[in-house]
């Protein structure tokens, strides 16, 4: 088997006296979709930000294509071009149209000529089904549309890996489907993805592997079937029971797999 | 020598504080009256109050100060420069204070007035006992800003010959031949006065705040 694209070794983050997460070891192979689940406040979002170098780590290492990106002197801006990130609250650039949001990284960071950048940006908007909204400002788009533009913005940089930080939890229920749909399509196209989410239906149907995190450490990981039907730890079972109780009705309506 | 410097400028400081302590309350009284007229008055008085505000806020304070000063220290009314200057400054400030209070009255809203009338209060009673106590509290933060503006604008009465801080600094600079020191001390005094005013009013604002849900 080939080496993983992304790997964390003993990754640790501490705020003052609070251990956010400790000794996280995670391997993401090319084309894999990994879903991280777990209760709120267990450091999942911070973990993604640490991998993307948006937050500094307090121990351990992150490797991208066998190169340690957490090493001193490594250019963080270059790393982030290769690791796309989608945020919970979209964070589109509010003063730019959808097209310009996708283009700006190409023209200002990759120094691509304007016409080529526009072409590429339109392609990406097409990929998320929003070519007809290219001239709209974020304020004129629904939350679901904004999040799809944010995905296109990240994709435009041709990243090696995409990180999703609870991409649907700020959305109204009826808008969640369109975003998950785009993500499922990406997974099918073998994009490498690391997804933090509470959408269990998505986890079961799309993930190659599920990681259950609690209190700053990985409790267990495995295939969707293993985790949902044969969890090794009581904590995992408890969490899944609670969350299906919470989301159960919705899952049934969606006709989740049996 | 430095202590001489100080005691001389301190006398100017007292006058600066005096001008502010006359102008600010006078402006508050006049501004409150105009704000009430604007908010609760009839069509004509409402329009007149609006024009009052627009005219006074559309002209530099120093120009108004000169006009009012020449009226207040003329043949008909003959006040001393201190009083003419302070009251003029108060009139200028009243237009700005009026806008602050008007905003606060609007923020309290018509609902409170309706509720007060519903339990049988007269309009005047409702304004006095229900609306104003709330509006005045709301007005404190923007009003403290105006207070420090009036304190700084009190330096304008220098142009009328009132011996406040700047005028003293000028005389000191002439006698000592140390202009930078003289004006530097004056600036320091202003800075401390403005700072202390802001702090005192912040404290007042904290003390008078109504409790809310966290």
């Amino acid at each position: 088997m080939t080496n993983p694209i992304l790997e964390t070794r003993n990754l640790t983050k501490i705020y003052g006296k609070n251990v956010i997460f400790k000794d996280i070891n995670l391997k993401v192979n090319e084309g894999e979709t990994i879903v991280i689940i777990g209760p709120s406040g267990t450091g999942k979002s911070t973990l993604l930000r640490c991998i993307n170098l948006l937050t500094s780590n307090d121990g351990g290492q992150v490797f991208l294509d066998d190169k340690e990106i957490t090493a001193k002197g490594h250019n963080a801006d270059e790393v982030r071009q290769q690791i796309g990130m989608v945020f919970q609250n979209f964070l589109l650039f509010n003063h730019l149209t959808a097209l310009d949001n996708v283009m700006i990284g190409l023209t200002k960071v990759k120094k691509m000529p304007k016409d080529k950048a526009r072409e590429k940006a339109m392609e990406e908007l097409n990929r998320v089904g929003l070519a007809d909204r290219a001239d709209h400002y974020p304020g004129q788009l629904s939350g679901g549309q904004q999040q799809r533009v944010a995905i296109a913005r990240a994709l435009a940089m041709d990243p090696r890996v995409m990180l999703f930080d609870e991409p649907t939890s700020a959305l109204d229920p009826e808008l969640i489907g369109e975003v998950l749909g785009v993500m499922a399509k990406l997974a099918k196209d073998r994009m490498t993805m690391l997804v933090v989410t509470h959408e269990m239906g998505f986890a079961r149907e799309v993930a190659d592997r599920i990681v259950f995190m609690e209190k700053g450490s990985i409790v267990e990981e495995g295939s969707p079937d293993d985790l949902f039907y044969h969890p090794k730890h009581d904590r995992t079972r408890e969490f899944l029971w609670k969350i299906t109780e919470l989301y159960g009705k919705k899952e049934k309506e969606k006709g989740a797999v049996e | 020598m430095l202590s001489n410097f100080f005691s001389y400028i301190i006398q100017g400081t007292a006058i600066t504080i005096g001008v502010t302590l006359v102008a600010l309350p006078f402006g508050l009284l006049l501004g409150l009256l105009m704000a009430l007229v604007h908010t609760y008055g009839g069509k004509i008085s409402n329009r007149l109050a609006a024009i009052y505000s627009l005219l006074l806020r559309g002209v530099p304070p120093i120009v108004l100060l000169f006009i009012l000063y020449f009226i207040l220290s003329g043949k008909v009314i003959n006040l001393t420069p201190f009083w003419a200057g302070s009251l003029s400054l108060g009139i200028v400030s009243s237009a700005y204070q009026m806008e602050i209070l008007r905003g606060a009255l609007l923020a309290v809203g018509g609902g409170q007035m309706t509720a007060a009338r519903a339990i049988g209060m007269s309009r005047l009673q409702a304004i006095q006992t229900i609306v104003l106590p709330q509006a005045l509290r709301l007005a404190i933060p923007p009003w403290s800003n105006e207070a420090s503006i009036v304190l700084k604008d009190s330096s304008l009465v220098y142009a009328l010959g009132v011996p406040e801080i700047l005028r003293r600094a000028q005389q000191l600079s002439a006698t000592t031949q140390q202009p930078f020191l003289a004006y530097g001390i004056a600036a320091l005094i202003y800075f401390v006065l403005v700072f202390a005013t802001n702090r005192a009013l912040d404290y007042l604002s904290e003390r008078t705040k109504l409790p809310t849900h966290p």
Binding site: N89, L92, I104, V109 | L166, P179
Partner: protein
């Protein structure tokens, strides 16, 4: 009191000349203040401890003392240290430095309102800090600042009236000399007040137009949410 008509015929050219200098001083002070204010606000929000301290010191000092005080320290005080500028330069420096401190606070408010999210989003697609500030934060912050900032030109225009006290020949200085010629200070200053009123009114109307012309659809709503 001489007839208003006669007065205007006789002194209008003089007053217009003064008004021209008033407008020029306002434009200069506003531009210099904008650059200073922009730098100071960026330093205060994004600078390291030292730079931030400098910015805070500048802003607080110039907001905490009267403009007239600043004008006098530059015009009368600095020569005591061997630094001398012409009257016009003193007026320009005082107005620019003073306005810069106020503009810095308007801009700081909107920089803070943009929030950390936009910075994070910019960094996430590989932009540097400086690039994110320039391409993402500033364009939004400047637009967001317009409603609050648009008080500043009018306020500065009114502030320029004090520089006649160091004999810069702007509108108020003209007023003083006209008053001396006519022996009618009240009438003269009333006439000058009218000229100021007209300038303030025009400037205000222009700024309102700018405010409307630079709106981004849905942006205000969006920024309030953030």
């Amino acid at each position: 009191m001489i007839a208003f008509y006669e007065f205007f015929v006789r002194f209008l050219p003089d007053m217009l000349k003064g008004a021209g200098i008033t407008v020029l001083l306002t434009a200069e002070g506003l531009s210099a203040g904008f650059i200073l204010g922009l730098l100071a606000s960026l330093a205060r929000v994004y600078g390291n401890k030292f730079v931030r301290g400098l910015a805070v010191g500048y802003i607080e000092l110039f907001r905490g003392t009267p403009l007239l005080m600043q004008l006098f320290i530059i015009y009368y005080g600095l020569p005591g240290l061997g630094i001398t500028f012409s009257r016009e330069w003193c007026a320009f420096l005082a107005l620019g430095l003073n306005s810069g401190a106020y503009q810095a606070e308007y801009l700081r408010g909107s920089l803070l309102a943009i929030g950390d999210g936009q910075m994070m989003a910019g960094r996430s697609i590989g932009m540097s800090r400086a690039k994110t500030i320039w391409y993402v934060i500033l364009p939004q912050a400047l637009r967001l600042a317009i409603p609050a900032w648009s008080n500043e030109p009018v306020s500065l225009l009114k502030s320029t009236a004090v520089v006649f006290l160091i004999a810069v020949p702007e509108l108020m200085a003209k007023a003083k000399s006209i008053a001396a010629q006519t022996y009618d200070p009240i009438g003269t200053y009333l006439a000058v007040a009218l000229v100021y009123l007209a300038m303030v009114y025009l400037l205000d109307a222009f700024l309102r137009w700018v405010e409307r012309a630079t709106r981004i659809p849905g942006f205000e709503m969006e920024s309030r949410k953030a």
